[in-house]
Amino acid sequence: MSAADIWSPATCRCVDLDNDVLLQTVNLTKYFSIIKGMLRRSINHVHAVDDVSFRIRRGRNLGLVGESGCGKTTVGRTIMRLLDPTSGQILYNDDGKQIDIAALSRGELRKMRSKMQIVFQDPQSSLNPRRTIRDTIAEPLEILKGMKGEQLEIRVLELLDDVGLNPEHAQRYPHEFSGGQRQRIGIARAIAVKPELVILDEPTSSLDVSVQAQVLNLLLELQKEHHMSYMFISHDLSVIRHMCDEVAVMYLGEIVESGGIRDVFLDSRHPYTRALFSAIPVPDPTRKRSRIMLQGAVPSALNPPSGCRFHTRCPFAKPLCSEQVPKEYEAGSGHSVKCHFQDLKFE
């Protein structure tokens, strides 16, 4: 299965496909070795990300959703090359020039850092507690943009203002801020170098819902202003719905369903996606819902199940599912599903 199957040029409405796609992964795979013994032999692999292909388009947001351990965070970190992929390509469109991030050297990678940035889940552990906010935000500007002096100070204050913080916050330390404010600092640091792509790894999951709303609105405002693309990693489907144009649902290292947000949310085909939707508690007491109850827990990624990886928990599994790996089927324009029985409606 190649990425072209998912978004074939025919289904893409844009004229210049190449320029529209900002980043594309092709069969991206990341295994973690389990090392044992004195000889440090690799005895097994955790299949964290297996053969994942998707595209992020310019100025658009891709949501990556799944439960813990499905590999969504590993995808984000591999794209940033904070982890090195086991195989596969990460193609970045640098003004028409295609760069394979997976093959870059450390030095070349550094140049890419001003194009791609990441915001982490826990702002407490991703900010250096011994540095003032000014130093934290100034660092990428100094290193990647070579800014200094007055120009640098002005830019830092500008960034603080952009994310809704005050100039007097610049000289404070991370512990003096609330969770929401810390996440704003993380965002300011990420957008400081004017990246084209920002990877947001569960940026609001440690925040209260009223603060989460503030941060989500801020992210959308910043996007309007700076024309960035977001890759939004989250386990929260309603947040993804709010933030993204396209979505990919992951289960045990694989993308099981992907497509436009409306297609996947209103016409979900994969039993896992449907179960995920039906499991979310909805803040409406009058709604009686029919739950697709999944039995058991996610299997270990050490030895993923044969055939379709979801078959051990799938309420609709048939013998075929444990024998054969499902292909990716086209369920509609740009909407693809990895299930043998995607045409069945599973009612």
Binding site: S210, A213, N217, R241, L276, I280, P281, P283, P285, T286
Partner: protein, 318 residues
């Protein structure tokens, strides 16, 4: 008579930085078998309220300063510690957010449930084990023998929480307090656990006090709901009424700041600012610095819960 009747509960923490007024005048009633939700953001005092009912407030620094907690007519604030021990676990039990930290890592899960049963029901070891296996079956664990002989770290988060529920319900308590029981779990596992709690509430007629920050869970699980903010209840009503016609600006804001799954992309409504510092809570209505409709009276005078019709209580001057 209500099963649980909390009246003007005040629980303060006396810290070096000052007195934290974590719970400041909370009153509510819970009928036998009823499911009630306490909802609010972090630091609103919902967990401290629950811990006060269990008399599990760490003292020092915390103390129940005033108020009454009537459980079956007995004031839990007044009774001595050893008497409380016979209530706790037997008549009221509690499950916590993170089952890993509430289970003892060096004992098997089974032996921990055995202990609770032996202690509260005075059964012999083998009788207790029978009961343990029975309870594990009740919480939909298939392989009860294996699970009972497992250590907590050998089980998944969902399984651990099931074991906690089995332990909590082993003595058929009249009241189960669940403090964010599914926050550390994935949604598909969360659905399983919520269904289980709901099911057991019906089967065993255990009243439920459910503490959560998730309005979705409240909507699904509770019959009655109290919204807490800054150590006080700002609004209380039956669940349908509260979601249909929220009155307090905080409740309205909270409901509108949840991204919706179904409607089209719109701007989320924002409650500006953040939760108040309960060492120096704002004068008057504690929500007034964040309220868009704040009036002079809100700054001066603390509003009290007023019935706006049909038992729908709101603490707001507007």
């Amino acid at each position: 008579m209500p099963l649980l009747d909390v009246q003007e509960l005040k629980t303060y923490f006396f810290t070096e930085d000052g007195v934290v007024q974590a719970v400041d005048g909370v009153s509510f009633e819970l009928e036998p078998g009823q499911k009630m939700g306490l909802v609010g953001e972090s630091g609103c005092g919902k967990s401290v309220t629950a811990l006060s009912v269990m008399r599990l407030i760490p003292d020092p620094p915390g103390r129940i300063v005033s108020g009454r907690i009537l459980f079956d007519g007995i004031d839990l604030v007044q009774i001595p510690k050893d008497e409380m021990r016979t209530v706790r676990g037997r008549q009221i039990s509690m499950i916590f957010q993170d089952p890993m930290t509430s289970l003892n890592p060096v004992f098997t899960v089974g032996s921990q449930i055995d202990e609770a049963i032996q202690l509260h029901q005075g059964l012999e070891a083998d009788e207790a084990r029978q009961k343990t296996l029975q309870m594990l079956e009740t919480v939909n664990i298939a392989n009860t023998d294996r699970v009972a002989n497992s250590y907590p770290h050998e089980l998944s988060g969902g399984m651990r929480q099931r074991c906690m529920i089995a332990m909590a319900l082993s003595c058929r308590p009249k009241l189960l307090i669940a403090d964010e029981p599914t926050t550390s779990l994935d949604v598909t596992i969360e659905a399983q656990i919520l269904d289980l709690i709901d099911d057991l509430n019906r089967k065993l007629n255990t009243a439920l006090l459910l503490i959560t920050h998730d309005m979705g869970i409240i909507a699904e699980m509770s019959q009655k709901v109290a919204v807490m903010y800054g150590g006080t209840i700002v609004e209380m009503a039956d669940t349908r009424t509260l979601f249909k016609a929220p009155q307090h600006p905080y409740t309205v804001g909270l409901l509108e700041s949840i991204p919706s799954l179904s409607v089209e992309k719109t701007d989320l409504r924002i409650i500006p600012g953040s939760v108040p510092d309960l060492i120096k809570p704002p004068a008057g209505c504690r929500f007034h610095p964040r309220c868009s409709q704040c009036k002079e009276a809100c700054r001066q005078e603390r509003p009290h819960l007023v019935d706006v019709g049909g038992g729908h209580l709101v603490a707001c001057h507007l």
